[in-house]
Symmetry: C3
Subunit: 317 residues, 3 copies
């Protein structure tokens, strides 16, 4: 693996799940693989779970980690070719990226969508420019449109809990929130489950919350949450803002909050959420505090997902 | 030791002092004890001495450290059971803590009192919830009401300087400041000296600055600073705001600033302060720059106190 | 070497260049030299290149690194003897520095000029007080007036590219910018090239941008950029604000921006800049994207310069 920015960088999803599960039992098995290697973690917006889990994964492999909270350093990068830099942008990606490529062996970067300009967000300019100009492997720690490390951890969690069900029914359900949230987690989950192709995959949301078809294609999309949830094995709860009316909150229907009552027809359903979760807005206390919840396991699996990815990248470099 | 949040978690104070003194001479004696262990340092308010000294202590024991400046990340935690999270709190402690427990082997946390609601500060809800929901050992890096790592460093310093005095006279004296300061250092010092029970312990402050009796009980409390300081062996200088008129500054009497003149009747007295100190407000230059001052030694001992505590916790886990 | 705050701390520049070049080929040759040593990196203003390169250099030598972003912690230090500390300064350098000296084996500090008071900036009070009161080796990571680690990296880069030219012609040229910039990089480069004394050294700038003679003495200073650039082997492009009309921007003549046209009489000239660079304000795209540019190599050499310096300091301590 030369980079990890979406499921399309992965040759064999099941192999990667397998490696993550292996590291979960053997965290320090490859503790010399990353000896004398360095990873830079660039955060353009704050992160806790992602930063911690990636840092742990890297250290387990012996990789040195340097964290750069770029948002707080005011390191405003220019991305446009030919720009006359007389404004607030202090450095061009063409000058910053090659140096990062000289300092590090791997770069992890978290960026985020502005949610006001769909094209700008969806062309992932910063990520692609960083890849082009740094010349070293890039790992997305969440981009404007995708969150592949989260999705791999999600799949590891599903794999650990699927109890030999040949084709589990997986439902991604929209949930209410109090503000406009990016599409990354939902897009990425849809993209991974579709490519994995070992599940009956249903996406349910109110009308107006259709995700981009480039990620959802292959899933069964329903507007009836009740119908979607019936006989579900895994229910992934997530809010996202509108894609068509870009970045807007077009419905706040609180009846979409997942409660035990919603799972009356899905007695064995396990419930997932990437955290942080707004309790009693997205998901009820009874579910989060009950036996269905996989959220802690899912968050803990972020470490093993990252470790599997970093190890594959090290092996190629 | 399964946690370290107050002197009540310590079975044998003298043993812990002894371990700290041992590490001071042998910093790397147990450098493999913490191998493949990870400690998360969570700061809800800024810290320099505490962060550096704890980080050094952990590294001396081979522990990996990840620092989280939570205040700057806007990670505003909900603590109330059953909360409908439609406000500014982004995550419930019930969801955050178990994951921290999965990521780390030990958590150190610094929190702080708001100084506006006595009950809220003194019930230490965040600390107790973190302990309850994380399931791993917690080390207080200063809480709303106590600062046990500071107190252990204070006792190590007293031990190093007590010159075989059987029962040294230790005086904790209030000093002026320019703003309202928490009670943590004073509460904790009182609690430790009282439990240690190897000293004549006097607390002196202007009327209105009585500390909580749960910590001071056992000490001789005086309003005459002059009388209190007579024949003192150790004088601990510290400002704190009012406990009864909670969080208020009820007197700014600058005559309480400790100077050489105040120590006329205590020729051998050594002077302590936890730093940072407001020179010529709390303590005079002549004392801080003179032979009585133990402040640098005391600050340096923070490392060995933390190392002794972390080592004991590692041995139990 | 007991400290590294200017070229005057260096006995033999060529030896230091040689060490840097050696580490570039053998990054981990001395990975045990700094075992059980700790370096504190104190930043009073943000830094990316300097922080990363110094951190990498230290880790390559086995040194533990703790980063302190002091500006963000609000750690406002009092420097004046005898101050009554009733204002915004929370700690005196006399109390902070000895403790840093106890915690660390080496301190690296980045400070910066206010650019409003020439005397205050040029007496480097914070740096000299830190040296005096910490008692341990100090490495400047850029001070109010100098940036010696940058200059050493610059010289390493010149050395790597001088192609056996006996005395290369090196030109430091002022360039336009959009705001007032410190003199540190220019002062320091001038000081190093002058002391190195293996080049024909020319400084060119518009009238009013004369640098302090204490650093430029020995260089040929010209107001005609065209004349200065003729037959140059190395052109160092840098903006700085006025020294005489202290901290002011006294000319924004955009014709000083370096372009290919400016180098018509210097066909072999290599172009240097310390980054970050304002494209098409200081330097044209064609130069930065062309074969003349050494800027990435120069930035990458920051690691090896820092590693050479830290190794020499470790050998003396």
């Amino acid at each position: 693996m030369k980079k990890f920015t979406s499921v399309n960088d992965v040759l064999d999803i099941n192999y990667l799940i397998d490696r993550a599960v292996y590291y979960k039992s053997n965290p320090f098995a490859d503790s010399v693989l990353g000896q004398n290697k360095r990873m830079g973690l660039l955060f353009l917006n704050p992160s806790l779970r992602t930063r911690i889990s990636t840092q742990i994964a890297a250290r387990n492999l012996g990789i040195e980690v340097i964290v750069l909270n770029i948002d707080k350093e005011g390191w405003n990068l220019e991305l446009n070719e030919g720009a006359i830099m007389n404004g607030t942008k202090v450095e061009h990606i063409k000058d910053a990226a090659p140096l990062l490529g000289a300092y590090f062996d791997i770069i992890g970067m978290r960026t985020f969508p502005g949610l006001s300009n769909k094209e700008e967000d969806y062309n992932e300019l910063l990520l692609s420019q960083l890849m082009r100009h740094s010349g070293i492997p890039i790992v997305s720690l969440e981009s404007s449109t995708l969150h592949p490390l989260q999705s791999l951890a999600d799949l590891v969690t599903i794999w650990e809990n699927h109890n030999k069900i040949t084709r589990p029914k997986i439902v991604l359900t929209w949930a209410p929130h109090i503000k406009a949230i990016p599409h990354c987690v939902a897009n990425s989950f849809a993209q991974w489950i579709n490519k994995w192709d070992n599940a009956d995959f249903v996406i349910t949301h109110p009308a107006g919350y259709e995700l981009s078809e480039q990620f959802t294609e292959g899933a069964n999309i329903m507007h009836s949450q009740k119908e979607a949830l019936a006989a579900a094995d895994f229910v992934y709860v997530k809010n996202w803002s509108s894609y068509t009316d870009y970045g807007k909150v077009c419905c706040e229907d609180s009846s979409w909050m997942l409660t035990e009552q919603h799972l009356a027809d899905a007695p064995d359903a396990k419930v997932m959420h990437c955290l942080p979760v707004r309790r009693n807005i997205e998901l009820s206390d009874e579910i989060l505090d009950g036996k269905r919840s996989l959220v802690t396991q899912q968050g803990a699996n972020r470490v093993w997902a990252a470790q599997a990815v970093l190890a594959e990248i090290l092996k190629m470099s």
